[in-house]
């Protein structure tokens, strides 16, 4: 198990993932601690995916969907928001800080926003320290 910070970002193909691609094209540097997993729509994300990422040892998890009311699949991002909230409630009930999970809404042309999201999550992990579940994982 690596002792590096690990942040998992579930990114929807049309919003978050495209913004991350654009950030690359714009050559905006950001922390390599973030690992992007592409999903067709943020609405594909289930509470389980967030919880399992923590079980694998993630320090933080975020979901990046399209802007609200601008989801490629109409309302997948709203569904994702609900599920992220649900995951937060479950995590807080076992003593994991809710700040480790966040939902973001990004448009594909907001390349600059993806590095900002990464910075936000990295600074949260810096403040909170490694996930308490890491010990269990090891």
């Amino acid at each position: 198990m690596t002792d590096r910070t690990r942040i998992v970002g579930y990114c929807c193909s049309y919003g978050g993932y495209s913004a991350a691609d654009l950030a690359g094209v714009m050559r905006i540097r950001y922390s390599s601690d973030v690992m992007v997993i592409r999903v067709p729509c943020a609405g594909r994300i289930d509470v389980l995916h967030i919880l399992k990422a923590f079980r694998h040892g993630a320090d933080a998890v975020f979901v990046a969907g399209c802007l609200e009311k601008n989801c490629h699949y109409e309302y997948g991002n709203f569904e994702a928001k609900k599920r992220v909230e649900h995951a937060r409630r479950i995590l807080s009930s076992i003593g994991i800080e809710t700040g480790r999970v966040e939902m973001f809404n990004v448009a594909s042309n907001q390349g600059w926003r993806f590095p900002a999201i990464v910075r936000e999550m990295v600074s949260r992990v810096e403040k909170l320290g490694p996930s308490p579940l890491r010990k269990v994982v090891e």
Binding site: M1, T2, R4, R6, V8, S13, Y17, S18, A20, D21, A23, G24, V25, R27, I28, R29, Y30, S32, M35, V36, I37, R38, V39, P40, C41, G43, R44, I45, D46, L48, H49, K52, A53, H56, G57, A58, H72, Y73, E74, Y75, G76, E79, A80, R83, P115
Partner: protein, 522 residues
Amino acid sequence: MDSVAAHVTSLDSVALVEVMDFPCSTRGQTEIRDRIKEKSLGRFVVAGCSPKTHERTFMRVAASSGLNRFMFEIANIREQCAFVHARSEATEKAKVLVEAATSKCRLLSPAPYELVPVSSKKALVVGGGLSAVVAASCVSSQGFGVILVDQQRILDENAVMTNRLGVPAEYFKETLRGLRSDPLVRKLSGSEVIDFQGHPGDFRALIRTLDGEEDIRCGAAILALDATPIPSEGKDEGLRVINQTEFGRLLSSRTDYPERIVMIIPKDSSGGTFGRSDHLDAITNAMRLKVLLPSAEVTIIGSDVRAYGMCELDYRKAQECGIRFVRCKGEVDIQHEGGPRVLVTDASSEIPLSLPADLIVLADVLKLQDAERLAKIFKIPVDASGLLIRSQIRLEPESTLREGVFLCGGASGPRLVSEELLEASTAASQAVSLLSSPFIEVGGTVAEVDPEKCSVCLCCIRICPYTAPFINEDGKAEIDIQTCQGCGICVGVCPSKAIQMYGCTDAQLDAQSSASIRGGGR
């Protein structure tokens, strides 16, 4: 690159690792194809550019190598790695990304894929107004059949012409004449669509005509719904308050024009949905009156004037020919005792004005005819103000969430006449591009229900934006792969975990996140 390759070689079930300059080039593609055949590989991972740009290329490579076209995975080590991280960090991250892609790739299964023929080459156009006429003529001029359905008398010049202000009359009359004698266009007057089933390329519409019900096949459908002005009530009561359309009609039918006119432009009427042409209607009609009766006194009251684009020129011309514009503050009151007059406060001087008027002209209040009923039949969602929702305004304008059904006219909001004309031809060309293609690709990363696990809770049916899931003959949910768009919202919502989707199963996502977190051998 070599250290990444070395790391990948050490991974489970990896048969071959090759460093290539450009896997997407023709040479690269041939090389991949050759290796797959030589070593009889079952799947492959490409570490390189973003799947957003290169997915389709490698789909073709997979298909031409005899594999299912979805049996590969792309690790994005360019846009999301090499471009954004320092060299040593990028190398380390690339190892993890390729490992994650490999662990997902290991779990891929062949996705369903078929080409469904577009069997009906006709378009159904619903509506009888301006946009319906334009859409129908655009489709037929490209050689495809049209079935034009409207509740009113179709192609009745008067019914269509008086509909809206600013209709280019000559062009329109000519189009109407052309349509009347067009053998490709079947006109069903006094008819309505009562059911609509099927798939793009092969829809079935049940139409109630004057002679009974008729089953009609079509490949695409265009809902060209027109918003029509609601008649003003003032006329009947003898009050001198009418709307812009009625005023326009008055200008063309009478010669005793009123001298003093006050026009009122509402602040965002009805929440901003139906006020798009208010400003232009007022300016156009005011100018018409000024030409017919130069001594007329016309005042236009509004909180602002939105004459955008080239219409700014009309706005200036209107000011130059003596039409008064009053920017108002607060409410505008109409008084009827002792002759109608309009009470208003001028915004810049804050002086209350009392303007006597022979005629007060209000903005049109538009209403969409029959929209909600049609939305239900065509299974298109409506927004809070009863307007039909378009799906992809930027990429596929005028398309709806139901593939093969297009919108134009006022169906999804108020439009200027020029915009309506443009949208009608856009919708028509989208329908034609569907009708003219021999096949439609079906399948791919679609969702599938495991009937063993399905508890028939109807969650997927309620949540799907595209109405793809249905309850089949066995009483279990089933997803129609022709309708499924592969968003996976139902997969996430299914409480029984009975739905999985190709290329994004729970197991694949889990493997990917596990490898993303623990991978890289650091």
